[in-house]
Symmetry: C2
Subunit: 305 residues, 2 copies
């Protein structure tokens, strides 16, 4: 198996189509990634003595590992990212109230909170001063650079992936992304040991990932249709993702994707798909944390027989 | 057990504090309600020969059964509605695309669809031309009249309940509502045999309810705190509900309620509650169907140990 660890060669804090790939693989290859936590921290939060890894530079976004060229991938293709295994590192951190955003002020979250967590992979728990919670690890960022040259922030999610922060894309899921650039140039980071729908404080349990095995494949379409926004086939069911400047727009986008998916899966027209969606599809808030808002629509597995 | 069936005495299509109660009960009483479907239909959709019950009047909203006076309930109290049992009737209907709303136009839902369902209570399924789905029955409307005199529409949800359309309030749940008027004057209707989060077409599987057993109780507060918006303790976990003119506002309201609940349950300040919510609380879109938008925050059962 090909392996990539976060080091001076692989670490980057932005998306850029001109960043040379550090690995080139044939479609169908499994790559074992390790990642730093999103903040480039060298170790757990232990009070005042925390430091970032030396590769961190001012203005960098999430600490990403990559990019990986998937040979033959071309704009308009679909990159299929099968999540085979996700093993978080031993520690994580959740932040709240760091800045007086309108959201924080409205909600009375006025003091910064830094919550450290110890992660027990065997017990599948994370324990911090606010309690013990179950692990549900996934990567917040899996994506490719935009077609436009130059450095692009890792913060907002894009139609071709990136900081999607969708809690359903756990081991066993396959994420389908529209390919924006030749060779895909795929990077990952932003490990989350657990996160609720919404990522309401702006961070999950931000953790390094010891090991994330991803099988990268390329196909011309998904279910016979071109892909224009992220879709995932997850243990919970099919997920279509919507992005927007507010939740209303993101919800409409997510539902638009789901109506198309229901058409492809069950041969329904838009109106029948809308009726069925009203009965079985769940609209959930993916994240409110990253300038661009996210809503995903979930068609639970075996919801329609 | 006290029983109320939908008839000329109990049926009404609006909330009005001056509508005389048809039943008066002591706190702690279980009432067995039956309800029409939301549209006052006399029977299943069988093509062109459908008719409404004679009690239907122009301008009426959902067909409600009630009102029930809960003796001693006063404004500022909390009405606790324990859902003991919910048994749908044998048929239901889902509608989509009936009107060219901005939502329908944006989503390409331009043809009206009327989807009939046969409900099999024993098999816990509903079967229609779009497939077979699982039953998950609940009442879309459980509420009380506003304090202001006059007729009030049943369509928008209110801070004191009504058309909340929250799919988590199934049998086993207890819904807590702030009491707006003396005696509570509680009414129910809008049976849903199944509904996804979002109720995206504007209707669920709209069905009559054969039998809904609700135990109505009154308490001065919830977890030692005054209640200002609907909260439910459900089989899935605690739910706080937010209402707003858009999804962003509704999401903030739902999260505001959840931060308060986390404070009461786990002794956390706002910032620590925000951090914990980011890790374990799910923000879900309740409904986009009723002029006022709804988002609910779910704290899954046993999420924090």
């Amino acid at each position: 198996m090909k392996e990539l660890v976060p080091d001076a060669r692989t670490l980057h804090g932005w998306f850029d189509r001109d960043l040379p790939p550090v690995l080139s693989v044939a479609p169908g290859t499994t790559v074992r990634f390790a990642t730093l936590d999103s903040g480039w921290w060298a170790g757990p939060h232990t009070g005042g003595d925390r430091r970032r890894v030396p590769e961190h530079t001012d203005g960098a976004g999430h600490a990403l590992t990559g990019p990986v060229e998937v040979r033959g991938a071309r704009p308009g293709d679909v990159l299929a990212v099968r999540v085979d295994d996700v093993v978080p590192g031993p520690w994580g951190t959740t932040y709240a109230g760091a800045r007086p955003t309108a959201w924080n002020v409205r909600l009375g979250v006025e003091q910064p909170a830094v919550v450290p967590w110890e992660i027990d992979v065997a017990a599948r728990t994370a324990t911090g001063p606010v309690g013990t919670v179950g692990l549900r690890p996934f990567l917040g960022v899996m994506g490719m650079p935009p077609a436009e040259p130059g450095r692009h922030s890792t913060i907002p999610p894009y139609w071709h992936g990136g900081n999607l922060d969708c809690r359903e894309v756990v081991a066993g899921a396959t994420l389908y992304l529209p390919v924006p650039v030749e060779g895909a140039l795929f990077s990952v980071g932003d490990g989350h040991a657990a996160q609720g729908d919404g990522e309401v404080s702006g961070t999950a349990i931000e953790c390094p990932m010891e090991r994330v095995d991803l099988t990268l494949d390329v196909r011309p379409d998904l279910l016979g249709r071109p892909l224009t926004a992220p879709v995932a086939d997850t243990p919970a069911g099919w997920v279509t993702m919507g992005l927007g400047d507010d939740l209303d727009e993101a919800a409409a986008e997510a539902l638009d994707g789901m109506l198309g998916l229901l058409g492809a899966l069950h041969g329904l027209g838009r109106s029948e798909a809308m009726a069925l969606a009203s009965v079985v599809v769940d609209l959930r808030i993916t994240q409110v944390a990253n300038r661009v808002f996210g809503v995903h629509a979930l068609l639970p597995r075996d919801a329609v027989r």
